[in-house]
Symmetry: C2
Amino acid sequence: MGSKQSVGIVEPKTAVLGDLRLDNGSVLSPTVVAYETYGTLSPNKDNAILICHALSGDAHAAGFHSDGEKRPGWWDEYIGPGKAFDTNQYFVISSNVIGGCKGSSGPMSINPVSGKPYGSSFPFVSIKDMVAAQKLLVESFGIQRLLCVAGGSMGGMQALQWSISYPDALENCIILASSPEHSAMQIAFNEVGRQAILSDPNWNNGLYEDNATPRKGLALARMMGHITYLSDHKMREKFGRNPPRGNLLNSDSDFAVGSYLIYQGESFVDRFDANSYIYVTKALDHFSLGKGQELTKALSPAQCRFLVVSYSSDWLYPPSQSREIVKSLEASDKRVFYVELTTNEGHDSFLLPNQRQEDVIRGFLNMPVNE
Amino acid sequence: MGSKQSVGIVEPKTAVLGDLRLDNGSVLSPTVVAYETYGTLSPNKDNAILICHALSGDAHAAGFHSDGEKRPGWWDEYIGPGKAFDTNQYFVISSNVIGGCKGSSGPMSINPVSGKPYGSSFPFVSIKDMVAAQKLLVESFGIQRLLCVAGGSMGGMQALQWSISYPDALENCIILASSPEHSAMQIAFNEVGRQAILSDPNWNNGLYEDNATPRKGLALARMMGHITYLSDHKMREKFGRNPPRGNLLNSDSDFAVGSYLIYQGESFVDRFDANSYIYVTKALDHFSLGKGQELTKALSPAQCRFLVVSYSSDWLYPPSQSREIVKSLEASDKRVFYVELTTNEGHDSFLLPNQRQEDVIRGFLNMPVNE
């Protein structure tokens, strides 16, 4: 393998696409999708890989928007020249989900009738709808068939949905740290997050103004979510029982782990919208391909090859949920590879540097397609 | 074993005890402790067992306060004639912790200077302070030595603290589903609960009025706590992905598990004080006997016999924390029995009916003391 490089400076783009009839019957018109691309589309348009993001992600998956940007895109570790998704070989597309708040159609979009953001009057968006919007984007490039759709967590749900919504339109599917449906406990954590937002006096039924958003509720939701993305081991390693650093009098917590969570909550509020948090977590909770025979039947239209990866320390999306997917794919004779990686970082593992994960993705993509 | 019976109607009592110098230097004067007793104290006062409650518990551990009361005390399953803590043999004492809100000295106590509740001006209370107040109560009965101190979760921390604060004053110690100190993850969950209360507009730095308490924040804290007390298995069994029962339009959640949590949060607010929630969770988080050699040293003064019980499905206080206690007790040659019970109910297991837990407690108490 060659040396790994950054994709460098990338330009955020926006596509204004056609109408989209949503799962709930509403029509999105137009469908706006924020996206970025890395690498070059081949003349016969057969080297495109679509990357799907998780709950709080966005289209900015790799590189930098400017020289001054401190951190690269969220999956820069895996996308770039010489990296697992090698932009010397592949044309990588990354887009923001609809229902989100990073440039695609969502509650923050302006309602042309009122001239104000839709807020909670934006229609409910499902994982299937997010994928349908991505399909419009992919078609706008003239791409009929993707080499691969890949994602972790909610991104894995989207990848899985791609395989059955558009069986002809992808050759490979990579599903990391994901699930065919949320368990009661996964729903429960999201529910408390939503309740925190609904309890905020600024909530105003989702019709809050720009200068009075439900910041405190959203920060609480993020704090709680953040605990579930880490492992006990990772937290111990990172914080132990240490007191907060810096000026104790200025801290709202007696412990470093507490002040870290408070910081995570507060900085999240500056970059995420409370309505989108509700929309996207509801999309997650309502996504359900069933289990056992029901799941096998749901997955039967798929024609692509699958790579499913789980992480030993992920207690939020435990390996057992990935194995459900694998079992059902095998039951209907799909081509599927499964790897459980031993990690200490909990659900966030798929986002973090991991040579083994890199090798597994690269190996899967390089393998002759009939294997 | 004989047939199990209820202790019947019990009378809540309050003891006004002497001054207590707290860990933080303040003096509690007087020390008020709410308590109940079940069974009869033997003439030579050698059959008394002290029961210690968990975070949201109270002195009402067994029986009923009136004929009309719907549910008996919180550990009625284990306390009564013919039960594990057999009131035909033992005199059982159960008291509310100081810092709590169920009759013992705490933030809801009236500050004689202002004529109003102390609220957040009540002094910080540690697990050691809670135990010191219990010692005053036990002495008020003329009891020099308890046959046993027993508790689960925070109650287990109190039992452990008893064994080293007053090594001469107890013969046996039962520690269920507990820990020698909170991990970063345990602290993190409590921290988010506290932040939820602090974010409530009614919080007013803990000096809220009776008619405007931080209800929403406390309800959120409870909802989140509640998730951590159950197991994924138990939640799936109880709710699965079912929609809420009853009128969907009146529900704030799309899922049964959500409406259950909302109900748990709301009903908790009616019976618990937000300041106490903060005080008691802080006592939990600050309790630290260390680990490894440090823990062994901390436990070295203990002279009693120990029973330590953990629960396979308890991911909040995992069996590894109980084994830490056992390992350190064994390292300094204490008499200790350890049982890991296989259960599906998560952290709440110790509160629930379990024949095996009953047998283990009964067997431990009946065993000749030198075994």
